[in-house]
Point group: C2
């Protein structure tokens, strides 16, 4: 139902545009939130887009522009006159402008930088210098800075004068010669008992800051952990250069979770949403792992070939291969997924590896025992009695269940230790998730299965 409503909103706008009822369109749009207008913009026909966009009041237009997809932003910029482009840019926060610049082709970037005010151009170029995914590339340079010897009253006055262009005014940073000395919040200022108090006397001096090169995920986790509205970014000399705000941190956490999930699912991470990805995009993100895992499955094939004679003697053994492999794969991915997420959330560190392995071993013994007993019961009841398969003897059942229990143990130990090993070696632990571990566990489970079979069945 929700989709239906959305569609009709874009349709309504199209009709109103056709009927030239611009006044009404504007009346409706100003009641709406930029993110919601951006959705309409994405659904409306491309040739109507510039007209609809021009109906928005200046500030709202800029905020909507930020929320739109890069493709549409480019389309609009191509249609803008230099004056229009300048007007939109003037309303943008620097970090949003940088985000847009990063997505545009070179010729559009040139136009944007030419149209930006000199101060903004300088700031855009500064942020662009920092590596992707660093605090420097995520930050904005627009924050409120105060001097330590200001009074509370002077500070409030300064906020009132300069605050309109700042991304957040609620956390203000106290600096001297660009060195970060402390912070005060607007709450501190408003609740200060006396307007004549000095900033240096009420400021919080133990300020947690990040370096320009700190990874953006770490910055986001820090904001989330401490419940900060913003965190200051300082360069290697301790000079303050910007702030990262909570809204960008929230986006980073969402992106990183998505990235982890994609990697765990055996894909290279993509920045495009599903609906915007073409089949070619999806193909390119998926085929590398599929190829790699197909080739690595050669080893499992070789193991089976090696025991071909045993299998020929007892064909019934083949029927339990899928169950063994799947249960092993599932046991392993349960452990790896749990560990990968805990590492992501900083709940675990590499030093915990031995306690993790020990915990997984105990869990595996419990799981393995229950599964083995259940499996034995199932085989004897279903395969032996119900389906009356004479080849399924209790020795066969014993072989399968023993192999199952050992497989679960091996799978859980591999599943928990590989992600931690990856982290230790500086790789992304998420790479060590199900697809990879499945292949490894498959090989182990088959080896164990055939060894036990040849031993107990004397084949």
């Amino acid at each position: 139902m929700a989709e239906h409503k959305k569609f009709s909103m874009a349709d309504t706008m199209t009709r109103l545009l056709d009927e030239k009822k611009y006044r009404s369109i504007r009346d409706v749009l100003v009641t709406m939130n930029p993110s919601d207008i951006a959705v309409i913009m994405e659904e409306i026909e491309e040739e109507r887009l510039p007209l609809l966009f021009r109906l928005l009041p200046k500030e709202q237009a800029a905020e909507t522009f930020v929320e739109m997809d890069p493709e549409l932003q480019e389309l609009l910029i191509q249609g803008f006159s230099d004056t229009e482009l300048k007007e939109v840019l003037d309303e943008l926060y620097v970090d949003d402008a940088v985000d847009i610049v990063e997505e545009m082709p070179a010729n559009v970037v040139k136009r944007i930088l030419a149209a930006a005010a000199p101060e903004m151009r300088r700031e855009i170029n500064e942020i662009l210098r920092y590596p992707e995914n660093s605090a420097g590339s995520l930050m904005t340079t627009e924050y409120v800075s105060l001097r330590p010897n200001m009074t509370v009253g002077e500070a409030i006055l300064r906020i009132r004068r300069t605050g309109v262009d700042k991304e957040t005014i609620y956390t203000c940073y106290v600096t001297k010669d660009r060195m970060l000395l402390g912070l005060v919040t607007v709450k501190d200022l408003l609740l200060a008992p006396d307007d004549e108090m000095l900033i240096e006397d009420i400021m919080e001096k133990n300020v947690i800051s990040v370096n320009t090169l700190t990874d953006q995920e770490e910055v986001a986790r820090m904001l989330s952990k401490y419940n900060f509205l913003a965190v200051p970014v300082v360069d290697n000399d301790g000079r303050m250069v910007g702030i990262v705000t909570f809204d960008d941190a929230m986006d980073v956490l969402e992106e990183e979770a998505t990235e982890d999930i994609e990697i765990m699912g055996g894909m290279t991470p993509s920045e495009k949403t599903y609906l915007r990805s073409t089949p070619i995009d999806l193909f390119l993100h998926r085929i590398p792992w599929l190829l790699l895992l197909m080739v690595s499955a050669t080893f499992t094939g070789m193991i089976i070939s090696h025991f071909e004679d045993a299998l020929a003697a007892q064909v019934v053994l083949t029927a339990f291969i899928p169950m063994l492999m799947d249960t092993g794969g599932n046991s392993g991915s349960q452990s790896s997924v749990t560990i990968i997420r805990a590492l992501s959330l900083n709940e675990l560190s590499i030093g915990d590896i031995w306690s993790v392995i020990w915990k997984e071993i105990r869990t595996a013994v419990l799981c393995g025992a229950v599964l083995a007993v259940a499996c034995f019961g199932k085989i004897m009841l279903v395969d032996h009695l119900l389906m009356n398969n004479p080849a399924v003897t209790w020795v066969i059942a014993l072989v399968v269940c023993l192999a199952l229990a050992i497989t679960v143990l091996v799978a859980k130990v591999i599943g928990c230790s590989l992600p931690m090993l990856a982290k230790r070696l500086g790789f992304d632990p998420a790479v060590m998730a199900s697809p990879f571990i499945t292949t490894l566990v498959d090989a182990c489970s088959l080896l164990v299965y055939f060894r036990i079979a040849t031993l107990l069945l004397h084949i």
Copy 2:
């Protein structure tokens, strides 16, 4: 290295406590952030905990208390005198108090409610009425409310007078007879050109709010989408009852991502961190899916049993079963994981199902074709030429590659449609992730494989 530093901090505190250097402990602690102190508290020996806690200044003590694990909170409360408990409670925000109450056993809850101020007790009980995971249970009742006929100056004065107890003062809500009329931010108030302006003239009237019963994940996504600091919660009659703030929303987003990842990994979600989970906890969360999937693998076993004669005639076919099953499983989980995440992020809705299936079919054709060609080359080169296995003919290779291509197609269609179907039926789409789909795809891939084999090899 990081772990090492943390450990020594708790050790340092222990030594200072032994040497009774309370002054120094306090000096160090006041420079620290509550979340960091909580980490020390968790690492220090239990019997030293109350003493260390009592060294904290009142406000910091309360903030640290909130950040601690429920087990430690309970331990501390058990040791508190009634006066101490009252002092900590008085410093808490209502929503934090509710979080604590929800984790405590009945006798501790009784003590907490008895010690709380009447107003707080009333508010705690009110929030406790709402179902778990609803906006009502997540919200705090402590927000700044303004009247529409106040002037800007009066509003600022009201904030200064009442702000100290509010979780956020930066977004203020304009109400009349408890009905939500609009909102103003402190930024609006500070930047207003004239202190005599009326709130109703500067307030934002189009306020996005949520219902007390709205799911917490939806609330969190909304805050993230609109970059709000807080969102107002209204009851069914449109009366404002509280706000949900961005820091709680960030926690919810993290929890929900973890929950999705756990379910996708074939586990029932857990609220405990890995290090706090006992092997029994882990076992109980993991065994249900393992049992279910083991039993459902019976079908794959039955398929193999059914084609036992074909397999006996061409034992070489068995060697490719793991590769087929794994590639099918991986292809399917790539699609399901992508779709599940897109559904979680509201990037997809059920109405998109046909375009999703069509996109997956095209992707599957690309992946299947490349994999089949690569697989054919690999089999002929490695198995046929290099390992000189006479049983591996080009017809066998053809059978395997045809089965592979079809398996990829089937896997991707199943992988993308099951999560959407689950969502349509009101289940959590994450349930339809890899482990479940693997079993289904296994059965399909074996059926396809044996059908093609019996047809082409005339067995």
